[in-house]
Amino acid sequence: MEWYTLLIEFTLMPLVAFVVGLAMVLMMRRLRARIERRVGPPLLQPLYDVIKLYSKKTQISHGALHDLGIMMVIGGYIAAEVFLPVPGMMGMAREGDLITLIYLMMVPSLGLALGVGQCANPNGSIGISRALTSMLAYDVPFIIVVAGAIMVYGTSNLPTIIEMQQAGGVAAWGISVMPLLAIAGLISTHAMLAKEPFEVYVAPAEIATGPMVEMSGKYLGALFVMQCFQIYTVSVIFVTLFLGGGENWLFFLLKIFAVAAISSSVTVIFPRYKTDQVIRWLWKWPTGIALLGLAMVMMK
């Protein structure tokens, strides 16, 4: 691969992720609006929000770590996007693998923890401790799912996994091969997005949106961007592992939007669990299903 292709891909892949992420956020908001029986925001609303936040004229920072934390949040996802294969663009995907990706996806959470730690707001601190707790909760089933997938495909290299699925058609898709793991994966990716019923660490009514409590202007803008990346990344990972990846852009977008739509719908119709209930629930149901799925996979 030529260096310039790589450079273009390095620029394009996060940009695509951002744009698609914005569209997903819009879809999420529109879908929520529809169930709430209203019209919802205009088409460019997520974009307006981000630009507005970036064009704030005054800006409060709570110190170097605060800045650094936010950089980690964005940087982690930008790096992650490069490891996520999309149709036509592989980026670093061949060089990295699923495990790298999962590690990279932890960086933003840690960055957030770092940044919020310096904001010295108890709500933020509680939020961070909740975020880390829930990470613990959803990572257990997720790791099992990933382990199961690696076991099935025999590799952790994403392009390979995609190729294997696409070669075999729908029957070779992860969802057909390991349905239980797919279900557990869907639940844990949903939990990863921190949406109801697992939305414990933003919880406005409890801890005043937790880690975001002291985030203003560009910082909040960064978190909005992070949200776009996050929902995109999580959807793409699920599509890659279980829905055969993207054969072309049309199918790819259809698939990732479908996954995002499922997640968004669930968000609208459930309240949030308490933190301990989240752990209990995630360690009980998805973990159980994942283990069962793993067992089935191992028996094959």
Binding site: R34, I35, R37, R38, V39, S265, V268, I269, F270
Partner: protein
């Protein structure tokens, strides 16, 4: 309907049913204001034609959001109770409770269905508006919350006043009206919305709202205080005042005005005479610049001036030609309307302040004007209107043709005259009613039957007499014939037989001048053995003496006075009916006016000499 039990664990799947709403239309309203409901309480509307500027809205507003703005262009008429003021609303205070609408006596105020107003800091003055019928932004929104019959907070009905039944009252001169009992007085007083229209309309500017408020709070002595601020003839005015206040009362616009006159009477009747005297005596506050004043005539104007001046320490002497004081209120008003002992009470209070009244003393006969001028610092002429005007129709010089004012005086003085079997009264004013009803009583007493006819030039709705007077007169049996102009008094062999009248088509011409038109074909004769002319009075100014009469300036037979009541002579003031026409409360106002003028005049003289 499903029932959810506490024990049930709920379902993770049932919420998914809500996803059905993905396929349903949103309930969101289109952008922009929806039309408000029919009785919405939005921004104010005010019908400027109906609004009288009474300021009741301002009073009921619990947020002091309403302020009255005087607008010079608007017509103002204190007599009709209209002020050139309109309410302005401060939307930085208003809470849109609509009490102003519910209490508006005219119903001019309402709330519209308009409710959107936004502005920036610079435009904040737009929060203060002068409501008109077009609405806050001139867009003509429809009326929302407006007055309805069942939600009016104004009490439109008067407290009933008990009075003698017609058959009980015609055989005596007993007072017709009973006066309020405490309970109904309180209730009547509570109707007052304190708009002060009565105050503006009253020639004497009596502060009726104040004493009505005092009556309502059952503090009658305070009420007396307020009454005596502006009126020393409280008993008189409590009974026979022409109550312009009531015609101006803003409650009267849609309902029956407050019985302000009866309320004053109630306060006076309830507080004993001695107590009233004590209260009034406390008001005495002698000024250093006092002097000697002579007043000619102990009528309302003279008595009022005497009261004012006596309070300030002047030595006041009144010269009265008749044997008792009160002037026209005694000799022109029958006792069934104003019992004489009440009048005596009023005069007693004034004399108790040190005013000396010489009765049966005719100026010009018993004492000369020159003498008065020499002995006093100032002289007030308040001689009243004691001469009756005549129709001068053929036969009106007959002995049995009387002027009403002479006859009334005769009745009061107890002088003998032949009580007629049948009497015809010419005139439609209050005096006509007075004489008709007095004659009727005398007839009942003497003959046991009554026959009094009143012929008026005016149509029924144009009659000058007060409506209740007319009503009471008819109840008692007086026959009132409208639109009849007197043509002649028919005399047969030196004996008066009746009054011939002609139909009157119209009284005034297009410009409003007195110019009656008759239908000469429509003649009717009313048989009578006495005809009484009650068409107006004139002053008797002979006492002034020729010299003075020539020196003074005159206007249409009356002394010319300036707005302070001064004549063209520097020491001579004039007040009362003689210069202003017949009306008690005007006379009282005139009394105040001259007293004030004299006091100032003398003070400035002292100042100049000192």
């Amino acid at each position: 309907m499903t029932d959810i039990k506490y024990e049930s664990k709920g379902s993770l799947l049932r919420p998914f049913k809500a996803l059905a709403f993905l396929g349903r239309e949103p309930v969101t309203e289109p952008m922009g204001p929806r039309p408000a409901s029919e009785n919405y309480r939005g921004f104010h509307l005010n019908d400027w034609e109906k609004c009288i500027g009474c300021g009741t809205c301002k009073k009921i507003c619990d947020n002091q959001a309403i302020r009255m703005v005087s607008i010079p262009d608007l017509p103002a008429d204190p007599v009709k109770g209209i002020r050139a003021e309109r309410p302005a609303m401060d939307y930085g205070r208003c809470c849109w409770c609509g009490l102003c609408v519910d209490l508006c006596p005219t119903g001019s105020l309402s709330l519209s269905r308009e409710y959107v107003h936004t502005c920036t800091e610079e435009q904040i003055s737009s929060y203060f508006i002068l409501p008109d019928p077009k609405g806050m932004h001139g867009q003509g929104y429809e009326k929302g919350w407006a007055k309805t019959a069942d939600a009016d907070l104004i009490d439109l009905e008067r407290q009933p006043m008990h009075q003698l039944a017609p058959d009980e009252r015609t055989d005596s001169f007993a007072e017709v009206v009973d006066g309020f009992d405490p309970q109904s007085a309180l209730l009547e007083a509570s109707r007052c919305i304190q708009c002060g229209m009565c105050h503006d309309a009253c020639p004497s500017n009596m502060d009726a709202p104040q004493y009505i408020r005092a009556i309502w709070s059952d503090d009658l002595e305070a009420a007396i205080e307020h009454i005596y601020d502006t009126n020393p003839l409280a008993h008189v005015c409590g009974r026979v005042c022409t109550h312009r206040c009531e015609s101006a009362c803003s409650i009267g616009i849609r309902g029956k005005p407050l019985s302000i006159r009866w309320l004053k009477r109630y306060a006076m009747d309830q507080v004993g005479h001695d107590r009233v005297r004590d209260i009034v005596s406390k008001r005495k506050a002698p000024l250093p610049d006092s002097g000697k004043i002579a007043i000619i005539g102990a009528g309302p104007a003279g008595l009022t001036a005497a009261y004012d001046l006596a309070l300030q320490g002047f030595q006041v002497t009144i010269y009265e030609g008749l044997p008792q004081g009160g002037g026209m209120t005694r000799y022109g008003i029958p006792e069934y309307r104003l019992p004489y002992n009440r009048l005596d009470d009023d005069i007693d209070i004034i004399t108790s302040l040190g005013v000396v009244i010489h009765y049966d003393t005719w100026v010009g006969r018993d004492i000369s004007m020159t003498q008065l001028e020499q002995d006093n610092d100032a002289v007030i002429v308040a001689n009243g209107l004691h001469l009756g005007r005549s129709t001068r129709i053929p036969g009106s010089d007959h002995a049995q043709v009387y002027s009403a004012i002479d006859l009334l005086r005769k009745i009061t003085l107890g002088e003998h005259f032949d009580i007629p079997q049948r009497a015809v009264v010419i005139g439609g004013g209050n005096v006509a009613m007075d004489i008709a009803r007095s004659l009727l009583r005398l007839q009942q007493r003497t003959h046991g039957r009554t026959d009094v006819t009143v012929t008026t030039l005016e149509a029924r709705d144009q009659m000058m007499a007060a409506a209740d007077e007319i009503e009471e007169a008819e109840e008692e049996g007086v026959v009132i014939i409208n639109s009849r102009g007197p043509r002649q008094c028919t005399v047969d062999k030196e004996v008066l037989t009746g009054l011939e009248t002609v139909h009157c088509i119209s009284v005034f011409d297009a410009e409003g001048r007195f110019h009656p038109q008759y239908d000469e074909d429509d003649l009717t004769l009313y048989g009578a053995d006495m005809v009484v002319e009650a068409i107006g009075q004139a002053p008797d100014n002979d006492f002034l003496g020729e010299l003075l009469t020539e020196r003074l300036e005159w206007v249409r037979g009356r002394l010319k006075i300036d707005e302070e009541g001064r004549t063209s002579e520097p020491w001579l003031w004039a007040a009362g009916d003689a210069v202003e026409g017949p009306d008690v409360i005007h006379a009282i106002a005139g009394g105040h006016r001259v007293a004030n003028s004299i006091q100032q005049h003398l003070a400035s003289l002292r100042k100049a000499s000192a």
